[in-house]
């Protein structure tokens, strides 16, 4: 199981702040694809993923017990 936190506009797109998924050993890219296919409103353009409070690369692996945060880029000021 992994925990996924949807932050800022990602939260708006999927309609919830977090959820637990019964998956493990998938890449960050696969995780984003899974979210995209489960929530049609989710647009992964520019989204970044942090695993256990560290920004991750697309081919990094998400393991059981990991906490993944989906973070959109922020440019306003």
């Amino acid at each position: 199981m992994i925990k996924v936190i949807y932050f800022a506009v990602a939260r708006e797109m999927v309609g919830k702040g977090e959820e637990t998924l019964k998956v493990e050993n998938l890449t960050v890219k696969q995780l984003l694809e899974w979210i995209g296919s489960s929530y049609p409103a989710f647009d992964q353009t520019g989204m970044q993923v942090a695993i256990n409070e560290e920004y991750a690369m697309l081919d990094d692996t998400v393991k059981a017990g990991d906490v993944c945060a989906i973070i959109p880029p922020v440019s306003g000021g």
Partner: protein
């Protein structure tokens, strides 16, 4: 002096030494909107010796909800933001040294502004200028404090050349579309929060408390009561054109010709003429008269309306065309007006 800063001096990590360091510090703030006005006010009150504030825009009614230095009078007169900010900041503290730059910040200009700077504060509203700040910061070895906000969320991080990965590592490809304050809205507490976090990082750095700096990006959402922190060591790119051992600083290469840009979700196209082309307010006045357009002259710009567009031409030749979304339309109108 001591009385004025007594409460800050009582705060142990700052003390008298830290206060003296603040008095001899120079901070460059890029952008004078919500983040720029709040950080500049806080740093002026904290006793920072010199501030340089750069911004290309003027005060508008829609700014007043969150840009706390500005007044209705500023918006009615369309005072350039840096001019209005300086006026108010000097009322708050007489002995502060404030340099204002009413211009679009590009590479050569920013390199000149940071010559004796201790720190750069990011108060911009777009990724392009942040990449530019990032390149200049690394080239000159000056830390910069990233801050951004939209809706009820914000993000903060102090980038320190030689210590952390850089902004380009975090964002190697610019998102083609991102939410901005002008398209997705913003509440003031989110902006003030980012500015406060930025100032805390600034005070740490300027008073010699480097070890207290944040080591992870902070993302917060003040409406949904959540925050996420994330470190950037893992994503440091060993071949990064900014922070690797062989940097090329891509944003600092000079562009030729006129420069057109669409401003952050505002239906505005900015035109900066080629450096060889000297345009002034008076060229704008000549054209407005020739076309029989009504116009308004201020100390800083000429404003005129043509068709459904509102044009503002600044003294240095830079022009904003409001009511346009496409660069091509901006280019066409500019050529129609000035050939």
């Amino acid at each position: 002096m001591k009385e004025r800063y007594s409460r800050q001096i009582l705060f142990k990590p700052i003390g008298e030494k830290g206060q003296e360091r603040l008095a001899s510090s120079h901070v460059v703030i890029i952008g004078c909107g919500a983040l720029g006005t709040t950080t500049s006010e806080m740093l002026v009150r904290a006793g920072v010796g010199k501030l340089t504030i750069a911004d290309r825009d003027y005060v508008d009614m829609s700014n007043l909800q969150r840009q706390q230095l500005f007044t209705e009078q500023d918006a009615l007169e369309g005072t350039p933001k840096v001019i209005a900010a300086k006026r108010h900041l000097e009322k708050i503290r007489e002995d502060v040294n404030i340099e204002t730059v009413l211009d679009h910040v590009d590479g050569p200009l920013l390199e000149q502004l940071v010559i004796d700077a201790d720190l750069i504060i990011d108060a911009t509203d777009n990724f392009e200028t942040r990449l530019l700040i990032n390149d200049v910061a690394w080239k000159h070895g000056i830390p910069w404090i990233y801050g951004a906000c939209v809706q009820s969320t914000g993000v903060v991080f102090p980038f320190v050349p030689g210590k952390t990965a850089c902004f380009r590592c975090l964002l190697p490809v610019l998102p083609s579309v991102s939410q901005t304050c002008d398209t997705a809205g913003i509440i003031a507490p989110a902006a003030q929060m980012v500015a406060s976090y930025q100032c805390a990082e600034a005070l740490k750095w300027l008073t010699g408390n480097e070890e207290a700096l944040r080591t992870k990006l902070l993302h917060f959402d003040i409406w949904n009561n959540s925050f996420v922190e994330a470190g950037i060591s893992r994503i440091k790119n060993p071949a990064c054109p900014t922070c690797s051992h062989q940097p090329t600083y891509p944003t600092l290469t000079k562009q030729e010709g006129a420069n057109y840009a669409v401003l952050c979700g505002r239906d505005t196209v900015q035109v900066i003429p080629d450096s060889e082309r000297k345009m002034t307010i008076f060229d704008g006045e000549i054209v407005a008269r020739r076309l029989g357009l009504t116009y308004r002259l201020t100390d800083f710009f000429i404003e005129f309306h043509i068709d459904d567009y509102r044009c503002i031409l600044f003294q240095n030749g830079r022009m904003l065309i409001h009511g346009l979304k496409e660069i091509s339309e901006g280019r066409k109108l500019y050529h129609q007006l000035f050939g």
